[in-house]
Symmetry: C2
Subunit: 196 residues, 2 copies
């Protein structure tokens, strides 16, 4: 039974995924990708790649959030064409944005890091969207990226950024506390204590 | 006048920052750090490091979101002590978590990438918290990390992940559209079209 939990309403899942795509990204290149795993056998393969965590087979849907390294090569023109078609910018403005984007993104050294930033922003939106729609979510701490890549056909130019189990009851968190702002926040200069 | 916008209510800013810290992270190590810049002169220095974007001096507060690479060295014990003190876990459970965390985090190859994942999750929460509290936010696309590091004393073991301007009216976005799920979402296997 554990491996066949009650399915998540597909329309609800789709709403969560759409909300995950609404965040900002460099030049709106949207480098986040979502690989949704619902099939029982695939969730068992996924579980084997994620420290055998039982949440994965208990959850009706698991989303592997990927960061695509090179949308500037494949998605800049479609994005700008969409922006023009939807009346958000003129063709001249689109050409100007295109030039700036190609220049700026040509300076990126670590494409994995660049893509991961946007992918994690989307992962966060996905979890908060799930929460707002009454669907529990858990971000899994550990997974073997190479195994995921092999099992699910993820190419090298896509990084595996996060694995999020959706729809099961969350495990009780044994360390739910958070540090105060005195520990994680600075004013004006690194190391200078936070003061509101 | 542009360089001295109406200040953001400090209590509101603090609420936004606290909400930014509430997300999950590997072993609850909370590698996000927030450097809050409000001083006029400092916002001008920040603007110079971020393509001279006018949002920065128009905004009463700008948050540089950092990812700290090595909280396992400095914050694992304090986090576990806090969890025990707050009654979330027993000392024995804390010792067990400690062992697993040291082993798991010892396997990390790219500490910058690891820290950036959590920092961006926090950056996303920060923006959504601002939004829910009626404070506009803009994530700036480009900044010179080395200049930020030098100007604000950010050490090498902290990555500059995002710069978020808070409190000003958002610029009209010239490319607000997003790709549909057919472009960014897959079912069961990479490349397999999404179907709800």
């Amino acid at each position: 039974m554990e491996d066949s939990p009650r399915p998540l309403d597909p329309a609800l899942l789709e709403r969560i995924l759409v909300q995950a795509t609404t965040g900002p990204s460099d030049y709106n290149l949207q480098p986040w990708r979502f690989l949704v795993v619902r099939d029982d056998r695939n969730r068992r393969r996924l579980r084997a790649a994620a420290w055998n965590r039982p949440e994965i087979t208990r959850a009706p849907a698991v989303v592997i959030v990927l960061g695509y390294h090179f949308p500037v090569r494949s998605h800049l023109d479609p994005m700008l064409e969409q922006a023009v078609a939807e009346g958000h910018c003129s063709p001249a403005k689109a050409a100007e944005i295109r030039g700036r984007a190609v220049a700026a993104l040509g300076r990126i050294v670590d494409h994995e890091l660049w893509a991961t930033r946007s992918a994690m922003l989307a992962a966060s939106r996905l979890m908060l969207a799930a929460d707002s729609l009454g669907v529990a979510s858990t971000m899994l701490e550990g997974f073997d990226a190479d195994t995921l890549r092999r099992e699910f056909g993820i190419p090298d130019d896509h990084s595996t950024c996060a694995v999020i189990a959706l729809g099961h009851e969350a495990e009780p968190d044994s360390t739910p506390g958070r540090f105060g702002l005195d520990e994680v926040c600075y004013s004006e200069h690194f190391g200078q204590p936070w003061r509101a």
